[in-house]
């Protein structure tokens, strides 16, 4: 009669997706934020599209990281506030599984969504279409890694009143390698040189983070729940 790990995983993912789609405005906020920030750069710099292309990878990546971070704050917080996190923690499924399922769902509704709208932003910033594939692949890897780093930070800042600012403060320095490799991959794709090195590094970071971060995020949750 007990529930297997996969069933439990999909049940939690289903729950998270249900909750996200009941509040569509929260679903769109990070995307709109992403679009607004990338619109502000060309306006603030008033450059030609050709000159914009040089800074496009950096702008795109910084905006994507910030947008993805924006919604991380509520990853565990809303569940902690209404007490459902305690129910999840006592569900007999192990906290790590819950953490993995919640973080994957977070990536599905923010990271993957950012990847999907990135061609629009890319076009606005003058990124040529032949670079889109690399740009989207690097964004997918980068946002997944960031979701995991953010899960650790979100676990650590659950009970705090000004948690959102603190979350950015502790997660962004950890995310610098993502920005470096991600922007470099996009940059090289635009100029048409080999992107393999940067993509491999991003993939390695992603695998490394996905193996270690679940334990760290679980430990973080236990610290703040206890």
């Amino acid at each position: 009669m007990t529930v297997g790990a996969w069933d439990a995983f999909f049940l939690v993912v289903h729950r998270e997706l249900c909750l996200s789609f009941r509040r569509p405005e929260q679903l769109f906020q990070p995307l709109v934020f992403f679009l607004i920030v990338t619109t502000l750069f060309p306006l603030g710099l008033s450059l030609q599209l050709s000159a914009l292309r040089d800074i496009a990878p950096g702008v795109l990546w910084v905006a994507a990281l910030l947008a993805s971070l924006l919604s991380l704050d509520s990853l565990f917080k809303s569940d902690a506030d209404d007490g459902t996190l305690e129910q999840l923690a006592l569900s007999g499924q192990g906290l790590t599984l819950i953490v993995v399922a919640k973080t994957c769902s977070h990536w599905l509704v923010t990271g993957l969504a950012l990847v999907v709208v990135s061609p629009i932003v890319g076009t606005a910033l003058g990124i040529p279409t032949h670079a889109f594939a690399t740009m989207m692949l690097s964004l997918a890897l980068g946002t997944l890694t960031l979701s995991w780093l953010g899960a650790i930070g979100a676990g650590l800042t659950i009970g705090l009143r000004r948690g959102n600012v603190l979350l950015s403060l502790i997660v962004l320095p950890l995310a610098t390698p993502l920005l470096i490799f991600g922007a470099a991959a996009t940059d090289r794709a635009i100029s048409g040189t080999s992107t393999a090195g940067a993509i491999y590094f991003l993939a390695a970071l992603c695998v490394f983070t996905c193996t270690l971060a679940p334990w760290a995020a679980t430990a973080a949750l236990r610290i703040t729940l206890e």
């Binding site: 009669m1 007990t2 209404d82 007490g83 459902t84 129910q87 006592l90 007999g92 499924q93």
Partner: protein, 188 residues
């Protein structure tokens, strides 16, 4: 907080924890559930520490905190589905039956945010029922309930204990039950 408390609860027994505010009643329940790790001492179940058998212990445990722990955006039935479903395989009919028993079958398809405080309490009781657990840890189950609701809680507790379960109940009021009730009075 909470020093020198030693309790033992057996099947077919109910422990009624009472005492003034701030004496650690909720803390005691959280320690018993394994949410809080005691600084000293331990919690054992069937002679083994619950830390070593977290999964097994949680499988037979139903914990209802002071707040009803419902997602406002999900319906009562979905709330039950997503939390009970992690513990055991259930069917919608079973969950419906639990809601029915708690007297909130009419609210099954309503989002939890539109329910009254008393209805939410009943939904959280339905969740405890649907978990079919042998260990109940209930924090103020009588809160926000009317006379009929209180009557229902007493009935449920009584039936649970008679079927061989055990329960720890934090409550301010006296429990008018016809089963074995031990009292633990906490004071500072």
């Amino acid at each position: 907080m909470l020093q020198g408390v030693s309790i033992e609860v057996h099947p077919r027994e109910l422990l009624h924890v009472s005492g003034p505010n701030g004496t650690g009643k909720t803390t005691l329940l959280r320690v018993m559930s394994g949410l809080l790790r005691p600084e000293q001492g331990s919690v054992t179940w069937r002679g083994q520490s619950i830390v070593q058998q977290r999964t097994e212990y949680q499988a037979v445990l139903a914990y209802a905190a002071h707040e009803p722990a419902l997602k406002g955006d999900l319906t009562a039935l979905e709330n039950l589905h997503f939390s009970v479903g992690l513990k055991r395989r259930t069917s919608a009919a079973e969950l419906h039956a639990a809601l029915e028993r708690a007297g909130v079958a009419a609210c099954a398809e309503l989002p939890a945010r539109v329910l009254s405080a008393g209805q939410r309490r009943r939904v959280s009781l339905a969740r405890v029922l649907a978990m079919q657990a042998s260990v109940w840890l209930l924090d103020e189950p009588y809160a926000n309930l009317d006379a009929a609701g209180s009557e229902l809680v007493s009935e449920l507790l009584q039936a649970h204990v008679e079927q061989g379960g055990l329960a720890l109940v934090v409550a301010h009021r006296d429990l008018a039950l016809h089963c074995q009730v031990r009292r633990l009075e906490l004071n500072s």
